[in-house]
Symmetry: C3
Subunit: 399 residues, 3 copies
Amino acid sequence: MKDIATIRKMIERLSILNTRNMYLNDFFHTWKKTDDEIAATFAVADIFRALRENNISSKVFDSGLGISIFRDNSTRTRFSFASACNMLGLEVQDLDEKTSQIAHGETVRETSNMVSFMADVIGIRDDMYIGKGHTYMKEVAAAVQEGYDDGVLEQRPTLVNLQCDIDHPTQSMADLLHVIHEFGGVENLKGKKVAMTWAYSPSYGKPLSVPQGIIGLFTRFGMDVVLAHPEGYNVMGDIEDVAKKNAMLSGGSYARVNSMAEAFKDADIVYPKSWAPFAVMQERTDLVGQGKFDDLKDLEKRCLLNNAKFKDWECTEELMATTKAGKALYMHCLPADITQVNCTQGECAASVFDRYRIPLYKEASYKPYIIAAMIFLSKFRDPNKKLTELLDAGQKRIK
Amino acid sequence: MKDIATIRKMIERLSILNTRNMYLNDFFHTWKKTDDEIAATFAVADIFRALRENNISSKVFDSGLGISIFRDNSTRTRFSFASACNMLGLEVQDLDEKTSQIAHGETVRETSNMVSFMADVIGIRDDMYIGKGHTYMKEVAAAVQEGYDDGVLEQRPTLVNLQCDIDHPTQSMADLLHVIHEFGGVENLKGKKVAMTWAYSPSYGKPLSVPQGIIGLFTRFGMDVVLAHPEGYNVMGDIEDVAKKNAMLSGGSYARVNSMAEAFKDADIVYPKSWAPFAVMQERTDLVGQGKFDDLKDLEKRCLLNNAKFKDWECTEELMATTKAGKALYMHCLPADITQVNCTQGECAASVFDRYRIPLYKEASYKPYIIAAMIFLSKFRDPNKKLTELLDAGQKRIK
Amino acid sequence: MKDIATIRKMIERLSILNTRNMYLNDFFHTWKKTDDEIAATFAVADIFRALRENNISSKVFDSGLGISIFRDNSTRTRFSFASACNMLGLEVQDLDEKTSQIAHGETVRETSNMVSFMADVIGIRDDMYIGKGHTYMKEVAAAVQEGYDDGVLEQRPTLVNLQCDIDHPTQSMADLLHVIHEFGGVENLKGKKVAMTWAYSPSYGKPLSVPQGIIGLFTRFGMDVVLAHPEGYNVMGDIEDVAKKNAMLSGGSYARVNSMAEAFKDADIVYPKSWAPFAVMQERTDLVGQGKFDDLKDLEKRCLLNNAKFKDWECTEELMATTKAGKALYMHCLPADITQVNCTQGECAASVFDRYRIPLYKEASYKPYIIAAMIFLSKFRDPNKKLTELLDAGQKRIK
């Protein structure tokens, strides 16, 4: 546990980072944020965690709402968002598209304003359809900006992308903060090999935003990032371009390989996880758009059959043994498909998963703090000053 | 934005209004409230908005629950209620009749008490069945009064009607507050012509409470209120009687006409909106009561066929041009059925709706403040004193 | 209403009770708690109620979450838990197993941690399947303990059993606190006769945890507790053993009889309520486990047919007349099946139920305070000190 003096130093170090452009701004994709902004998000997340460990309140809102819009099922992200809001003093209101009048034909613009009269933040998960999720979020952001400019809204709620079709920044940032702590500091990441690999799962249609988020972020830290997947399971080319550019700038590397074996070889970090082929996701989006639900079932069948060709893409003990000293850090966004645990054959062998259970849970534990940091940095122009106030006030969380 | 001195004056002016009878009382219908009470509700809503603009907290509850009961889908009213509660320091708990044991045969009296042990306010929307919504609300109010008198409840939660079969006071009050601001003060409303008119919509069964709420409230301000609808689309006669009496007392007028053209002619304000014929709503209530669901479908078909005879009841540019200087204030409770936007033919032409988008959103933005004012006035015997305390304390909302 | 001096004395008396082992501990079954712990829970509940009556805030958390998991429908327990959390300063987050990814194969261990990063308390209702509910709660408790020990969780959320297959402690404790107040103090309970009896209901499958909770708790206070039910409607033998042992230690008695008449004779308290035969509950659990849903329907039919043999097990005026002075305290956990009110024939005659409506509602009103007391005692090592602080601070709840 960090003591008060340490926290004070953490806050001081924050002052050298330029976060001006985060103020009143949204968090869509990590690659749209500067290195300072990424570093500040990690720093604030760590500070919030340290405050909580010391039972110091980080409530910076007296009242206010955090709106959550989940267009896909969610447990961990939902609770992470709720936790982040609660920690800061915001109350969560779910916009449930099933019980609301959205189904009755409201436009995004209208609804965005109607739910935002008292909203300080909006968190959205919309990851199921290629070309849709991010577009929707941009529409919401534009709508509330317009509402604010027009005097409809007293405040401009900022958006946090809780997973779209392109990026999953709260996941990749939590993942990387976990890596930073596991490796003893961001300065130790240079030259580390990361294997982001596809893995077999008996389900289909998992979003691409996790692998895309990982290669789009991890390449910024001088690491050697390898993406591995069977033929046809490509991620978006644009994001690979981001990864390449990042790697060049950071002194790391980015490469695509065709086998788990090659990716795992001497890796420091492995992230084996299933996702759907881009083409399938695209076709699904088109079919849903056209209301062709019978064809959808057919697509699912075909996709599962295709997946089944790659059942050997599993994170086994044998593969783990080939990683750096046989001790690569195994990562997953959870929930995982674990062979003989929740499926016949899946992404990971039970013994591997079980050995890494504690690190996996820790990995997940960063998400509420990352989200809180994103919200905080979008709401306070001078984060250093505000965090110092919190520390000095020393208001007990459990009184 | 109003400055502190202005807010202080707004609060001072509140002291001349008698709100004694609002204390620990419910808000069912605007016409059951005195002019002072209506004026105080507007005043407090404006003060809350000004406080928020100045980032001053209006939390008057340290803890406590606001119970919401929605017997019809809702986005904007749900969020408005949640916003109002949050602003005052209350946490919303939805009583979801689908997941609760109400379906198992609990009586209204029992449930009302069971959810109210820590409830300071109950907001109810029950607008679908003629003769039912208001009756239900009165039952709930009687039940919690009894519970309080019997020592079952530590406090008597007050009720806010979030829309019943008779009135929709949070809507009509928000609407009128919008009008007051658009026209530069309540003193400027005298002699203004208001056209509350039916409009065609491809859906059926929209409640009558909006037109009833509008004619029941707007007639109190010396305005010339005209209600227009096709034959058979009458509203409740009792409410027309209220409108007539109001108009007489306020020096305004109330009239019913048979065409949009007549209503729109030289109007300062137009409110074109679909609703179901009273007779249909009555029949529907009876059929549901008798469990005749096949007949219900038949009723819907007949009603839609009948509606279709009046497709020319649409708020067009041509009609708008006939209003006062061609610039009447267009109003709607939202969501609207907009021709060629969310339906083939609807209540309003797209170009008209789009031109009034900002005022429409502003109109909606008053609802959270109106609800907060209603709750506040039912909970504080001396609103002037309490608001002065809030202003003097100057607790920042975003700290 | 109790005055401040009285409350101070109530708090002082608390100091003689040893509650050390409640700190950071769970509340599963009343019989796992010492007499001091039970007494302290009652005392704190009474203190919280007195504070609220005096408009004094009992917020002891600045922020934090209370997680609720309801695996069965609930109105009153849901609102009681939400009320308790709100009163203490915690925000409720429901883990809805329908909208979450639990359905996708997450293990209990994983989910428990994923929702607990900011959780101070978890309330669980899981009462439908013999051998399952308590087991599930223990698994959750073990998982969060492990998460805390492993450094995954910053705090160890404590569990409150909101009803399992074995006990319903928040109900039985609220019930007993009601009895204590009705009889003017716990010292007046010795020698009082309590009739916990089965009653006919047209529904099947009601949990056994209420009768078990009652006989497991009421026998601790020197009362003569009688359990009556038709042949085959036994409760768990283990709990009867608990009741017998309790009765022996407390100087009371526990007996099983075969008719309502015998149970009601000279009773001071009667608690007539339906429940399913243990064997049926067992069979149902097995059938659900095996996915035999057709057999389930058959089981329900057989069970209802069997129930129907005992339609004369009804709490009638005639039976009430045989109780002590004809004035036994009638109790029920609600909702009750009332003859000619919400069913043709049920657990209780309408006139009896109606005469006891106010005491029944009061009985229910203790539950939020009992839950708050359970949470509080699991979170504060020195409850006396903390309550004194609350009283001295005198923070107004309605400001």
